[in-house]
């Protein structure tokens, strides 16, 4: 369990940068307008996008507190796949291309930096004990989708980790849930690709202790066309660019539960 890091009144949290430096820059610019006293990234800096090294200086210069996602853990350890666990050959094919490109284009210095990142954060937000994980507190690559994460599981995870609020990412689609006894779970979403709803914007989350917990999902618009063109120029699959241009996921669909899959186009 990560140690208590700091105490805050208002924080911004995002996940899944996926090498999307333009979306990251737009997110950080938006965050600067919101009077937050800390910014957290829940991991997965690479994947899908071009030029993965470009996101590192942005994160470091902004003082973002970053944890390892499964992608980062794989890159840091030299693993040969992203550990998303796809069995569908089509998803596996695109995941391999994405990971292989990211691995080849992430500098040794940045991979060393990834190795230094923690696996989670604990902070206090007003009276709330916040636990941040990439997938779940028990597995970095566990998918906590809105429609496959039972209240009973969340209660158990919070009990096991002595927390009031669980923050996670990894799935790519944001959600929040109020639980009994004033507890909460929030999937903070990702800023590297849209959330499969036909809109091109991405999302991050602002949490405030009022002292009750206030959760605000913030849409971020950015120049997705330039990012899509970079993907094409690098010879990455057209499907990755299409997702940014249309807001519909074209790959990595296998793990979507029925309800989330039905809301998408593919």
């Amino acid at each position: 369990m990560p140690e208590l890091l700091s105490e805050h009144r208002r924080i911004a949290v995002f996940g899944g940068v996926y090498s999307n430096a333009a979306a990251l820059a737009a997110t950080l610019a938006d965050v600067r307008q919101r009077d937050v006293d800390a910014v957290f990234c829940l991991g997965d800096l690479g994947g899908f996008g071009a030029h993965p090294d470009r996101v590192y200086p942005l994160l470091q210069e902004a003082g973002v507190r970053v944890m390892q996602g499964n992608y980062d853990a794989s890159l840091a350890s030299g693993r040969d796949d992203c550990a998303c666990g796809y069995t569908d050959p089509r998803d596996h094919h695109y995941a391999r291309i994405s990971y292989g490109y990211t691995f080849r284009n992430t500098s040794l210095d940045n991979r060393a930096w990834l190795r230094s990142l923690p696996a989670g954060f604990r902070v206090r937000l007003g009276p709330h004990r916040i636990l941040m994980s990439h997938g779940s507190p028990r597995m970095v690559n566990e998918f906590l989708w809105e429609t496959t994460t039972p209240d009973g599981l969340l209660a158990r995870l919070l009990d096991d980790h002595a927390a009031d609020v669980l923050l996670c990412t990894h799935t790519g689609i944001k959600w929040r849930r109020a639980l009994p006894a004033g507890r909460h779970a929030v999937n903070v979403g990702v800023i590297g690709r849209p959330e499969n709803d036909g809109s091109t914007n991405v999302w991050y989350t602002v949490l405030t202790a009022t002292p009750e917990l206030s959760v605000e999902f913030v849409p971020v618009h950015y120049d997705h066309e330039s990012v899509a063109r970079d993907i094409e120029r690098e010879g990455l699959p057209a499907e990755f660019a299409e997702t940014l241009r249309t807001g519909w996921w074209t790959t990595c669909l296998e793990n979507l539960p029925a309800k989330e899959r039905a809301r998408g186009k593919f």
Binding site: D88, W145, T148, P150, L157, R261
Partner: protein, 297 residues
């Protein structure tokens, strides 16, 4: 009732075990081995007459659901036999969907229009996802029906179309029983994706399942796992490290071995079955070798 000891490996040594890590999946062996089909490769030798494993009473299921919720279950599966033969399947699915995301495994041959409508309504009301997993073994009628029984193919295809028309996005489960006969280009996935699109399934979802030497295929192999064979292997990766099955007679370690005395871990509560599972069966070799999980994905 006393719990039987693990079955010993052929050499006379105690079977290796898998640790219990968490309750990831609760399986409900709802109809035992009662099924309207009698597939040649059935994992638990289900059939229409004299099921060797009896169906569960609704009270047993409700008790298991309540216990699983308290224990933080992540997902629930209903299987058999053929779960849609159970008179209470719909209310039980509804109760399960209050607790956790729920999957029902079916051969798709006994599902009516009214049931498909009811499933759509259930899925709409539920906060969690309802998954319907339909078994089909080949995209050609004659080959499929040779292993699943005459008429199975056309009824299953109709069910897939009923579910698709209601936006329920079924998962098609395919065993590898006929893989060696497949000569078309592309693997099983591609073959099934093409076929499913041809019958109007816009977003095919396919799960491939290896063949296990259990049920009607029991006895083809006598291989067993040993501690030596598992040296250096993370046994927490096996699905019995995070799966428990409620079936007639108690709680078991594995959906494939439900009902077999060697796989029974408790004759009562679910929580009492949170202990290491003996890897005593030849099916355990297949799980170890293939990384097989009975979960959807």
């Amino acid at each position: 009732m006393t719990i039987p000891p693990p079955v010993l490996a052929p050499e006379g040594v105690r079977a290796p075990t898998a640790p219990f890590a968490r309750l990831g999946a609760l399986w409900i062996q709802l109809t035992g081995t009662w099924c309207n089909l009698e597939c040649t490769h059935c994992l638990n030798a289900s059939g229409p007459t004299d099921p060797w494993l009896r169906p569960l009473a609704p009270a047993v299921v409700h008790h298991a659901l309540a216990e699983a919720e308290r224990l933080g279950v992540r997902e629930i599966y209903f299987t058999g036999g053929e779960p849609f033969l159970h008179r209470q399947i719909l209310p039980l699915l509804e109760a399960s969907l209050v607790v956790a995301p729920t999957t029902v495994l079916t051969n798709g041959t006994a599902l009516t229009v009214a049931t498909a409508d009811a499933l759509r309504a259930l899925a709409d009301r539920a906060r969690y996802s309802l998954e319907i997993r339909v078994s089909l073994d080949d995209v050609e009628q004659a080959r499929n029906d040779r292993v699943r029984g005459r008429g199975a193919f056309s009824r299953t295809v109709r069910t897939l179309q009923l579910l698709e028309a209601r936006g329920l996005l079924p998962i098609v489960a395919v065993t590898e029983i006929l893989r060696e006969e497949t000569t078309a280009e592309g693997g099983l996935y591609e073959r099934f994706h093409r076929f499913l699109r041809s019958i109007g399934i816009a977003r095919p979802r396919v799960k491939i399942i290896p063949v296990f030497a259990v049920g009607r295929l029991e006895g083809r192999r006598a291989e067993r796992l040993t501690d030596a064979a598992l040296e250096g292997f993370d046994r927490g990766m096996l699905q019995c490290a995070e799966t428990r099955v409620v079936a007639d007679g108690g709680v078991y370690a594995c959906p494939i071995l439900a009902g077999l005395p060697g796989a029974r871990l408790s004759s009562g509560s679910l929580e009492a079955a949170f202990r290491p599972a003996p890897l005593y069966h030849t099916a355990c070799v297949t799980c170890h070798r293939t990384g097989m999980s009975c979960r959807n994905f």
